[in-house]
Amino acid sequence: MSSLKLTKSGRVVPLGHGASESSKGTAPKSASLGPSQDGFWRSQADLDNTPEFQEFLAREYPEQEEQLKDPLSRRRFVQLMGASFALAGVSQAGCRWEEDKILPLSRRPDGYIPGVAKQYASAFELGGSAAGLLVTCMDGRPIKIEGNPEHPFTGGASTSVAQASILEMYDPDRSRAVRRQENGQGLIATRADALEALRKLRDDAKGTRGAGLHVLSEATSSPTVAKLRQEIQAAMPGVKWHEYEPLSTDEQREGNRMAFGTPHRTHYLLDRAAVIATFDAELFGNHPAALRHSTHFAAGRNPDTGKQNRLYAVESAYSLTGAVADHRLPVRSELIKPILLGLEQVLAKGDIASVGAAILGEAKVGKFITELAKDLQKNAGKGIVAVGDQQPAEVHAIAARINESLRNQNSTVAYTVEDNPQRPRHTDDLKGLVASMQSGKVSGLLIIGGNPVYNAPTDLDFAGALAKVDSSVHLSMYDDETSKLTNWHINRAHYLEAWGDSRSYDHTVTLAQPMIEPLYDGLSPLDVLKVLAGRDDDTNQDLVRGTLLAMAGSDASNNKVWRRLLHDGFLPGSGSRPASVVPKQFAATPLTEGQKLGNSIPNGKLEVTFRESATYDGRYANNSWLVETPDFMTKLTWDNAALIGPATAKSLGVSNGELAKIQVGDATLKMVVHVSPGQAPGSVALPLGWGRNRAGHVGGHEDYKVKAPGFNTYALRTSAGFSSVNGVTVKGTGESYPLAETQDHFAMEEFFDIGTKATNEAVQTRANVQIKTATLETYKKDKEKIITKDAHIEIEKKLLRPIEGREINASLYDEHEYKGHKWGMSIDLGKCTGCNSCSVACQAENNIPVVGKTEVMNNREMHWIRIDRFFKGNPNNPEMAFLPVYCQQCEGAPCEVVCPVEATSHSDEGLNDMTYNRCVGTRYCAANCPYKVRRFNFKYWNKDFEVARNKVRTLLSNPDVTVRSRGVMEKCTWCVQRIERTKIDAKNNRRSIVDGEIKTACQQACPTQAIRFGDLADKESVVYKNQELPRAYALLASLNNSPRNAFLARITNPNPALAPAKEHKDH
């Protein structure tokens, strides 16, 4: 079976790339769509889509309209799925035996073996940056997304957003038809109508040479789109092109423009860095190069080989970067600039005393900056000063100057030329467009993607301006806030359904190919733009092929290069080389006096910063995987909350879970407060992307009467206060709001003080025992005994005194014998950034259901991976650490002996197997599991999928993993289906399994390679070597369960000069 092989030969190029198939206007079919779709079916479908018929439907069967229109609930489902129907049935049948009819193909398509997964290279573009993907398709339906290991920039890992983007394709709430507004009424229209309307838009604009026609696009780095745009603007010079993203790296562009005169793109080469200092910079979260950063950062965290970088983070709200930093200084975002200017001056003058700024006068900051400056100077050329997108352009310019003076430039910090250097700031661009719209100069507006009515700055009043546009078209996957107000809504094809291309952050051209025929006949941006360009008859594939082959320097008819490109998924060598730039001299604003860290900021002078969140900018508000994934820091699901530090919350008199009125200028938002440790005093962080009106059944929808989760913080965001804004008032209302936090809030208040004290002590003690931490210094000094001599193990000993002379593996039962494999895992806690990729990947791989806010509040979330988050020390400036906990596959598993029906048992390869169909659900195993990693199906969580309109969602299920029914226990199996698949493949090919060949879903997604899986029987395997490291330890070892998973202690590298000050609790 060559299904999951990552070698070049193992991947298969989909059928339909040949010239013969590409004459149709739609994307070609991928390999295994089943029977041909010509003739009768096609014309019948066309008949169904006539407006008369649609209106008849709506009139005659108003309540069933949705079902009747649903192409998947009827024959199209059968038509598309063919043989896979049976397999989908198998997976849905779960632990009970449901019957399903099998519809075999009458003739098997070439190269297609039913039930064998295939992987194709593709690309996922978010905010104008691509990630190379490998998409696993099973019987013609994409079921899993993974990083493309051969992609030169993004590699084999993937972000949680990329993982979850596949769910978006199968989202039953996706728009399924074109809709046009007529006299305030929405009428269902067809794809042909939409194309006709676009042609009309083009033809109307032709007369004025394009004047009055504007295109508002979401950020895209697609070379083909750029080419079409050029063609459109060449033919109609009057056409104006705008770009808007609510989250972008614009400030960095503009900062570099200030520093260098050209808007260069900054790259941090973390693998070369010894000292990294971040200022409000999130390097590992939603940064377009996050995967790269994570991989390289982790590569520099190897205490066993002695290579260990040092990370300083100065920030207002916790980021993943701050969470893994060796030193973190929480300050308000507005103070970043004076601190950075101070740093620059300290670097220049070598003495903090000579820098007379109030902020630096404060002992905490002064010392931090002085030591950081020394460290950076000592590691000149090997340091990085990174600034985040929250910060204004000027701060980026200062950072560029510092990096240059420290000779970091071209060593650890590189700059490349932006693809589209002329483009103004997104906010400015949008402002210009809105001004034109308001003045009535815009006759036609084509909005490609995005959702400006929801996420444009409030001062622009985009919705009001939209009303003044004669003809507006919105291409969108959802009939969302913007679509409601445009004349036309065109349902967009998902990126897995369409041809496309884009560039990754390093500019590598990456190809996106369709995995499946568009489920709802949606249009891609290329479909729309090619009409404007007058290339209606070209297929998207030809367009992409033309652009890419031209870039590859070969003839468009060169099949060999094209097939190579389809296989690889990217154009080798297309990444930009670093540009060498010399900073211009520019006058920096002098350090202003009077700015202080100030632990108590008077109400009315608070600072608010806007952040990305689980829904990114709100576009994934209907993506239940992302919405239900606990935030890395707050562990909050199904909501966003205003994050306020404990000291500030106390002075404001607001408490966790209380609704507060947040006033920014004239706008007020009533929003729930989350008291967040480590949030800078006086600073309030507002995550964006919640409280939507027209997202869907998950993210809220006015038509379905579904209340939106979270709060729409865009209501407080103006173009002037786009990243942060000052002079904010927060007033508690005393009303409480239920928050679905998956882990207890840090400050436990009990009935009795003694209880509170005992609890907090217990949490702190256990934090030290369960997440073992040591400094590099300690580790180097006493490598062999770091774990045993570590103060923490003393506590562990105290927790359970071992009986004298008793062997550690003493057990009443015989030890298991292993003849073949002995699977094992290791997790390097020093590398885990808490990014949640593993958790979402696990959810996608293992058909893990989503349970909803109420059930999360009931503590019934189903994630097999729980990332425990611990705080240590002062709540206002704590140390944070992550511990991903999943089934530890114990040798002496406490779950196995207590199951009365033997539904969970030990395999001969060391796994704790779950036999779902044997489970009767006594839940004894869960009660007896000390790690609490077992999850129970308290209800039938997949019930919603049985509704006709939601059936499409079942196509996403992985047929290799049982869909669990109600009343059954489940847990992590270390992706036993992947193990078995590889074993079968190895056996068929008469070879042995190579170490690292089997990757669990979590491991594959992990960008830092913190997770390692392998065979403990193989003494050369990485996991064996990891488990032999002096810093390897078993979780709750004193219970004698002998887990087969080992954690590697988190080795930090703090600056000895900045030894953790014993701060007194000031709350």
Binding site: D744, A762, G921, A927, P930
Partner: protein
């Protein structure tokens, strides 16, 4: 002594025996039950109806209707199970253990106590079954030979539970029925209705009351009592293994078997008193269930309550003395954590309340006795709640900690189980001899009247 005197005594004895038969059988034979029986029965049926509706919803929606969650794999249903099993201990204890110990005062209460045991075990048996995620497959816990050769996991205490509880149930029913046989014969002989005659005749298994029958009967009864005695101790010991065998701090402790048994007797006696003190007033049985009987039972409650209190203290001491920080925290958390209210309810009801029984005045005031006994059972329910819920909500990993809140259905099924219990018990009071007539007669001084001067 003259024969005239002897015959007078014999006459007195006969009248006394007849009086017992009349008062006990009279309830069964009466056209109408005492007035209060009807509203009581109607209420019990209604509450049992709540159980039926709740079970319907449970079976259609799933265990998710309860408050159980990832950390709280076990909660109210298991609490209720242990609670009912505990109550089900008094009957067999009174019948078998006290029989073997020749405690004659037991005769007036053993029948009702045994009935109570059986009904309590029925209620108890309900919970482990409905508690499973897929109750329709709960029979997989039984060692039924099958062609897949799959057996239960014999290392699991839950499998032991199946055997322990079902054995206890079987023996309790047999023991109870055996005791009923001579009394069924009495009913058969007294009735004037053909239908009743036939029914009681079948139930009486052809009892004629011959000396040989009595001889065999008493031997058999003794053997049954000897068989049932170890069960009294084993059942709750096995139930306690469900916890003691687990690894959880607060569960994993060797004190559990004796501590659970003492608790079970404690709650069982409290339940017997709760039922019989009103019953003897309603059915005019004060001459049979005398104040002395009630007082004795109060003393048993006092003794077992103090044992339970001692166990609480020992647990706490060991948690500290062992130096095991997990264990130590679990107990601090019980007493001072978020469920402290449950812990102190338990301590109040189980340790403090029974201490009132030191006073004779209280031991002889029926209203106070019933009130205190109800409190004892509240306390015993909370004991199981504290053991199960507080231990699970905060176990080893703080990342898994979560508060537990019960739902409406947790309550409705628990309350409904009382409906089932009282329905059965009221039916028993109405249609079966609630007092073991022949045993009361045998234990009375009159039974030995004829021989006392020889």
């Amino acid at each position: 002594m003259s024969s005239a005197e002897t015959s007078t005594e014999a006459l007195e004895a006969r009248e006394y025996f007849k009086g017992i038969s009349d008062s006990v059988c009279g309830i069964v034979e009466a056209e109408r039950a005492p007035r209060i029986w009807y509203p009581a029965f109607a209420a019990a049926l209604c509450v049992a109806g709540v159980l039926v509706v709740s079970l319907y919803i449970l079976l259609t929606v799933g265990t998710g209707i309860w408050g159980n969650n990832n950390s709280e794999a076990w909660a109210w249903p298991i609490v209720n199970f242990v609670f009912w099993v505990g109550i089900g201990h008094a009957g067999t204890l009174i019948s078998a253990v006290l029989f073997l110990m020749r405690q004659k005062w037991r005769t007036s209460i053993n029948r009702a106590a045994e009935a109570m045991t059986i009904f309590a075990v029925i209620c108890a048996g309900l919970f482990p079954v409905i508690h499973t995620g897929r109750p329709w497959l709960a029979y997989w816990l039984l060692p039924i030979p099958n062609d897949m050769a799959i057996w239960p996991q014999f290392r699991s205490p839950l499998a032991w539970d199946v055997f322990a509880v079902s054995t206890y149930m079987t023996v309790s029913i047999l023991f109870w029925f055996m005791g009923l046989v001579p009394d069924f014969a009495t009913l058969r002989d007294r009735t004037k209705s053909n239908v009743k005659h036939t029914i009681y005749g079948i139930l009486a298994l052809g009892w004629r009351g011959s000396a040989r029958q009595w001889h065999r009967y008493e031997r058999a009864y003794l053997i049954m009592a000897a068989l049932a005695t170890p069960l009294v101790f084993s059942v709750h010991s096995v139930v306690s293994f469900d916890f003691a065998v687990g690894q959880l701090p607060g569960w994993h402790t060797t004190i559990f078997p004796p501590y659970f048994v003492a608790g079970a007797i404690f709650s069982g006696f409290a339940m017997v008193l709760t039922l019989l003190v009103p019953a003897r007033a309603i059915f005019n049985m004060k001459h049979i269930i005398t104040d002395q009987h009630v007082e004795n039972m109060c003393k048993v409650i006092l003794a077992t309550g103090s044992m339970v209190g001692f166990a609480y203290g020992t647990e706490f001491f060991i948690a500290w003395y062992s130096g095991n920080a997990y264990e130590g925290f679990t107990f601090l958390n019980r007493a001072f954590g978020p469920f402290a209210w449950a812990y102190w309810t338990m301590i109040t009801c189980n340790v403090l309340v029974p201490q009132f029984f030191w006073f004779k005045k209280i031991r002889t005031s029926p209203f106070i006795i019933v009130g205190l006994c109800i409190l004892v059972n509240v306390g015993m329910w909370f004991e199981r709640f504290v053991i199960i819920v507080t231990s699970l909500t905060r176990s080893f990993m703080p990342g898994s900690w979560h508060y537990f809140s019960p739902t409406m259905f947790d309550a409705s099924i628990f309350i409904g189980s009382f409906g089932l219990f009282f329905t059965l018990f009221l039916l028993f009071l109405r249609f079966m001899p609630m007092i073991a007539m022949f045993e009361v007669k045998g234990a009375s001084p009159h039974a030995h009247a004829g021989v006392k001067h020889h």
